[in-house]
Amino acid sequence: MDLRGTDATVTLQSSAGQLASSKDEQVQNAEKHGLDWWSLAAIAPAIIILLGFLFLFFYGIFQSLTDLKFGRPLVRFIGFTNYEVAIKSQDFWNSVRATMAYACSAVLAEALSGLALAKLFASGVFLARLMRPVILLPLVLPPMSVALMWTTMMDPQNGILNYLLSLIGIGRLAWISDASTAMLSLVLIDIWTYTPFFALIIFAGLQGIDHEVREAARVNGAKGWATFLHIELPLIAPYILIAAVFRLIESLNQFDIIFGTTQGGPGDSTAVLSVRAYITAFQNLAFGRGAALMVVNWLIVLLGTLAMVKLWRLVRQRVS
């Protein structure tokens, strides 16, 4: 009983306190839920910009549902016709394949070569230290300049690449001028340009690994390769994946390098979706169909990114 009385007293006291504090809370809540005009004014520009972006995005989607074209006096709403026409054409699927092939092979090759470079940088070898800033140079070049530079170097007759190959007895390659080698050549340009991006991020990941972890592995008898495979690689996997997310988004949207070198050719061998959309809209002047292709490209980027982010979260959970 005593215990209960004590309880009751305690309860009463605390109830009074609660009454007092609940009043304060109500006041605080009222203050909290009241319109803070200053805060609203502060974030208004961001909201306006966001709405502006969303408007443009949805306007683009709206355009893809119309027959907007130069020379057509009236623009009609045609529903999903542009999408239906695209899906039924072989060229569209060829572009989807080209987009996926370009992005996946470039990202995979860049991740592997970036990893190798980062490991080399982390080794602290004198030459690697010397090369560290130099290797980043391709990243700061405008992609269109990269495209023009490589177009010259890959010229089948007068390009320096074929000259260098001829020194070791390899015959002339057509590079970007032949349908069978054009895609591979473009992936090569992408690798040259963006491998430093991977190397930079993975190198940061490698630097972040506690030295004691490696030391413990060494004490337990792990050799260099085993340490890398079982200790370092799992720890830097989230870094590799986050770099892959950014690069996948860019590669699926790649335009400058491809348009600047092959314009999607020869034939349709490198006509990725972004290039096809541009040509449809700005060279064939069919803006509605061009917008539909861009929306499809956006969907592919979105799905690819969501899948990669999910994978990144899984790996990060496992590591932590």
């Binding site: 130069f70 006096p73 007759q157 007068n158 001028s177 034939g267 002047l285």
Partner: protein, 461 residues
């Protein structure tokens, strides 16, 4: 000593030539200024205005740009030229006009792009300026432009489609090109090769050249996947095979690219490209064609005739080495055919300085500016009949370094005509043709590719 004398003689001759050209230009400029002063319109009515003239990086633009100070002095209007490389220019032009940006007042235009741009009301019709006596001088003489060129730039839009030959004037020509075969005489003479006249003859000549000198590209032609690679060699030769881009069937427009004539043409043409063109064909634009013929890495080229002329100008490495011939024709064809391209000046419909823009167009396409540009060796295919009867120009073009330029021009011009059907949607159909050409050159079956191309064009009509 004799060497010094020879050098002095050369120097004096060079000085004399320079003085002659300069005095002709000065006389021309003075004449145009004088003529303008005595003109019936007020050239200073838009004094103080500032306009932007956009164009391709091109010697035709250089010819006008060199005379801009005269225009600014005459009118008090400031002109800012914005010049871009070929591909970039056409893409930027579409964006500028389609967004109705007023930043460009006058644009360099070709007839084919104008078919796609005019119906969207992106170009200003020029009739009311031409017919306004306050804006157009009586001495402008619009009828002095070759009739074929005037007709090509005049059409009306009916139901969203082009009806050529009558209607409104959409641009004023200030230079044109006909398609010819031009070749390095020195190379063909060295290897004893006769100038080919048909694609099979060209294929045979290429094989002979390649076996004699593997480093030489026998034939330079454009191959980029853009309509510009169709409008030179391909369409000119195709026309001689009886190929039409569009035909009227049962009162309806229908593509003619899957016809038996088209099949025969493409088989020969693809074969010829495989044997003759550079391995970089798919990436070759006119820059590569000109560079090849100028440097001697390419023996022959089928493209716009002035590319040969510009490289024949005294002082150029290839001066006097490039000769001209009509384009190739079908083996059983009676005549060759040559497509034309008309460089013209058009007005942006969104321009806010249309009066000043018109004065610029009128001045830049005037008799005197055309003649000055021609005699400077840049505006070589003047669209004005008066230039072609002017002794100063004819004497200049008949110089030995230009080999047979004038004679070939005259014989080709008799058969030169627009080879495309005027229609909205030109770019889409012709871009598709360029892509199909690349596929066939890369080994795709000719018949199947043409069937696919025709069906693609039909679905877009």
């Amino acid at each position: 000593m004799p060497r010094t004398q020879a050098a002095l003689r050369g120097h004096s001759a060079h000085l004399f030539k320079t003085a002659l050209i300069c005095s002709a230009l000065l006389a021309g400029a003075a004449a145009s200024f004088g003529q303008a002063k005595g003109d019936d319109i007020n050239w200073r009515q838009f004094e103080g205005a500032s306009i932007v003239w956009a164009y391709d990086i091109h010697p035709y633009a250089d010819a006008v740009a060199a005379q801009l100070p005269d225009f600014e002095k005459l009118t008090g209007i400031k002109v800012t030229p914005e010049l871009y490389p070929d591909d970039a220019y056409w893409n930027k032009l579409t964006i500028q006009l389609s967004t109705k940006s007023p930043s460009w007042d006058i644009v360099g235009m070709g007839i084919q792009p104008a078919w796609d741009l005019a119906p969207g009301q992106l170009l200003e019709p020029l009739d009311r300026y031409l017919n306004d006596p306050k804006l157009t001088s009586a001495s402008y003489d619009y009828k002095d432009f070759f009739p074929a060129l005037r007709d090509a730039l005049t059409w009306e839009i009916n139901g969203g489609q082009i009806e050529a030959g009558r209607g409104q004037v959409w641009a004023i020509p200030h230079g044109f090109e006909n398609i010819q075969l031009f070749y390095r005489k020195d190379i063909l003479d060295k290897h004893g090769i006769k100038v080919p006249t048909t694609p099979p003859e060209m294929s045979a000549a290429c094989e002979k050249l390649k076996s004699a000198d593997p480093a030489i590209t026998p034939l330079g032609v454009r191959g980029v996947r853009f309509w510009s690679s169709i409008h030179t060699a391909a369409i000119s030769i195709a026309k001689s095979y009886g190929v039409h881009d569009f035909v009227v069937k049962d009162g309806k427009l229908e593509t003619g690219l899957d016809s038996p004539e088209s099949l025969a043409f493409h088989k020969d043409y693809v074969q010829m490209i495989k044997k003759c063109a550079a391995p970089s064909f798919a990436n070759d634009n006119w820059y590569q064609v000109v560079d090849g013929i100028n440097s001697g890495r390419t023996a022959m080229a089928i493209d716009s005739n002035m590319f040969g002329f510009w490289n024949d100008v005294a002082g150029k490495p290839a001066s006097g080495k490039i000769a001209f011939a009509p384009p190739l024709r079908a083996p059983n064809g009676k005549n060759f055919e040559s497509n034309i391209w008309i460089w013209s000046l058009a007005m942006n419909a969104a321009s806010q300085k249309k009066g000043a823009a018109w004065l610029f167009i009128q001045w830049a396409t005037s008799k005197q500016v055309e003649l000055n540009g021609a005699v400077a060796g840049k505006l070589v295919n003047s669209p004005r009949a008066s230039t072609w009867s002017d002794k100063v120009w004819l004497d200049y073009a008949a110089k030995p370094e230009f080999t047979n330029f004038v004679d070939t021009f005259k014989s080709v011009q008799d058969r030169a005509a627009l080879a495309f059907t005027p229609r909205v949607g030109f770019a889409e159909a012709m871009n598709a043709w360029a892509v199909a050409m690349q596929k066939m050159v890369n080994g795709a079956d000719v018949k199947a590719t043409l069937t696919g191309l025709a069906s693609e064009i039909r679905s877009s009509m």
